[in-house]
Symmetry: C2
Subunit: 133 residues, 2 copies
Amino acid sequence: MENKRKNSRKRQAILEALCATKEHPTAEMLYKQLKADYPELSLGTVYRNLGVLAQEGLAVSVCRVAGQERYDADTSPHAHFVCRCCRRVMDMELPKAVQECCGELDREYGFIAEDCSLTIRGLCSSCRGIQAS
Amino acid sequence: MENKRKNSRKRQAILEALCATKEHPTAEMLYKQLKADYPELSLGTVYRNLGVLAQEGLAVSVCRVAGQERYDADTSPHAHFVCRCCRRVMDMELPKAVQECCGELDREYGFIAEDCSLTIRGLCSSCRGIQAS
DNA sequence: GTCTGTGCAAATTGTTTGCACGCAA
DNA sequence: TTGCGTGCAAACAATTTGCACAGAC
C-alpha cells in the first residue's frame, strides 16, 4: 500500500526543471534542456516521468499547442492564454466565477468536477503588432 | 478573392451530421456514421472537411478526449463537461464572468482573445454511481 | 475543360511500450 | 538482492498528405 517509488535523479531533475520555468514546456523541450546535464537521458523517460508526476499530482498537462502537450508544475487553479503566433502559453487569473461554477455542477447537473481548465487563444501583446490575420 | 469552394455532397453531409448531434463526435465517429449512407466515404475526407469547416467557422474542435479530438457545430459560447468514465462530452452554460474576462484581456494583459474554451473534467451523473476512483 | 473534392494508402508525428540492463533501497 | 527506473528502438494511433481520378461548375 506504501509508495514504492524510489528517488530517481532524473525524475527529480524533470520536476525541478518544470518548477523552474513558466514556459509550460513540451516533453521535448524538457528533454532538450535536460539533455545538457544528463546526456544519457531519453525522451521516453521524460514522457514516463511526466506521467508519473501527473499521477502524483505534482504536475499537470495544461493544453495542447500545435499538436504537442504542454506541462506545468503549478497546479494551483489558474487559466492559460495561448498565442497562436508565437505559441507561448501564459498564466492568467482564473475568474472566481469559474471556481464557483465547478462547485455548483453537482447541484445543477449532478456532475462531479475534478479538474477545470480555462484556455483562451489569440494573439499576445508581442505578436499583435507583427501579425494581422 | 471569391470563395472558390464547390458544394460538395460529402462536406454537406458531414456538416449536417455534426449539426444534428450533441455528442461532440470524433472524426472517426462521424466517419462510421456517414459510411452507412456514403459507402465510398474515406476517413481522410472527414478530416479534410472538418478542417475546412473549422476554417469557415462552421465547426470547432472542442477538446481532446482519450487522444481524439471532438468536434462541434455549435459555435456559440458555451462550456463543456467531459466524463472521464464514459467519455461523453456535454454542453454547459459558460459563466458570464468568463466572457467578460475575455474582453478585459486586452486592457489587463494586452492580449487579443479570439477563442475561449472552458472544459471541466470529472464524473457525470450516470457514472458517479458506478465508479469510485 | 478547369479546378476543387475524394479515395486510397503511405507518410508523419507525438506518445507509448517491451525488453534487457542499471541502479537505488 | 529486489524490483523500480531507464535507454533504446520498435510499436502505436491519430491525423496529414501525395497522387491520380471523379465530379461540380
